[in-house]
Symmetry: C2
Subunit: 218 residues, 2 copies
DNA sequence: ACTAATTTTTAGATTAGTCTAAAAATTAGT
DNA sequence: ACTAATTTTTAGACTAATCTAAAAATTAGT
């Protein structure tokens, strides 16, 4: 059995090692988890013993495949719960993280797979980060909706979800079309509206518009 | 801050003391939590110190008002999560308890109150047990739907939720009307259908029928 | 390459929750 | 009321996760 603390170490190491691919040093883990280097040394010894990572004294640690799978599964749970909180329970996207930190540790395959289905298999969380599927595979198609886009990033418009005349006319009258370059300036937590820059003009679009506009990462 | 273990002790004491009203002895707590009497003694000392209960050596413990509130809040969370799991995530009513045991410890007022609203303020969980509101008050009106009724109990039919012609004709053709006495024989976890006895006849009704038929406890 | 600064590990202590085994208090039987 | 059985508490020890302080290894500067 894996403990809550072990899961948090593995998750931190995964993020620090850029998806668990790189070696991570003791101080970085300590800082990330707001603990002391000596505590980290103790824990990584235990995690190495349990085969979640490889540990070389004074060198650092790197996740094993087993450890990487644990990390990806926690991330999947975290991000699915974030979608649930925002879409069903009226949380704003900056309120979700803390609660999701707890929900991500609930252990039940049925729970998380039914939640995935209930949410209609979302591919990205409210911050725009990708959600791995039940096999731990991240969707590599880089199509996301504007509401999933990250602040500060620039995208190209590649399509719509809602192709109603009303929506297309709205886009047209605001000079948004296929190929339009859009930079995300701000996401308003209160109503999930999004402030964007297009061409040289700035504008705010509603959550409804943002959800129906598909973008590609540039 | 209250720990997960402390919460579980308080919950057990609440149930054993019939809603926290009666004194509970050490061995009963130990048996209920599958631990040893010596561990219980240690823990109740700590809980008494924190004012969740009153402890008299060799006598037993009784919850304080503060302790009772903690217990009721955990029960509220447990039962709301059970409703969510059954109604939204296709759990059967005998699968929910274990997962709800974990979910009940997530601490977020916003989470639980939004969940309550999302579920449309249910008054009973899938086992027929009442759900206290956000102030810790149990609904004392004994109207429940057939799907919330307990196996083995007998009820009187007092109304319907769905008053469509189709539904009323269905009830009529099966000799179910206002005042009809109904005993719950079996609840089928697979599809949430309910086997009932009425007059002297037995029949099975679907989940849909069960949710729309209101009963009063006899 | 040798000292200085940094990073990491070790050693020993602490806290929460648990356990076993023995002692103390209570309850029950005659 | 006195012994026997039961229940409860105490005492001491264990594990997981943490900490501080000191020691050891690595890295950097000249």
């Amino acid at each position: 059995m894996i403990t809550l603390t072990e899961e948090n170490y593995i998750k931190a190491i995964y993020h620090l090692g850029k998806h668990g691919k790189n070696m991570v040093n003791t101080n970085a883990i300590a800082e990330s988890l707001e603990t002391k280097a000596s505590s980290v040394t103790d824990m990584v010894k235990k995690l190495a013993e349990k085969d979640y990572l490889n540990y070389k004294k004074y060198q650092g640690v790197i996740l094993t495949e087993k450890g990487r799978q644990v990390a990806v599964n926690i991330i999947r749970k975290h991000r699915l719960w974030e979608v649930f909180l925002v879409e069903k329970l009226n949380f704003t996207w900056d309120e979700v993280h803390e609660v999701a930190e707890h929900l991500e540790h609930i252990k039940s395959d049925k729970l998380i797979n039914e939640l995935d289905s209930f949410l209609e298999f979302p591919t990205h969380d409210p911050h725009g980060d990708p959600i791995p599927d039940k096999n731990g595979i991240f969707n590599t198609i880089d199509k996301i909706s504007l509401s999933q886009a990250n602040i500060g990033n620039t995208y190209k418009c590649i399509g719509v979800e809602d192709s109603s005349t009303n929506f297309l006319q709205y886009l047209d009258s605001n000079n948004i079309g296929l190929g339009t370059t859009i930079t995300v300036l701000h996401k308003e937590p209160f109503d999930n509206s999004v402030k964007i820059k297009l061409h040289t003009k700035e504008m705010v679009v509603s959550q409804n518009v943002a959800k129906n506009l598909y973008l590609k990462v540039l």
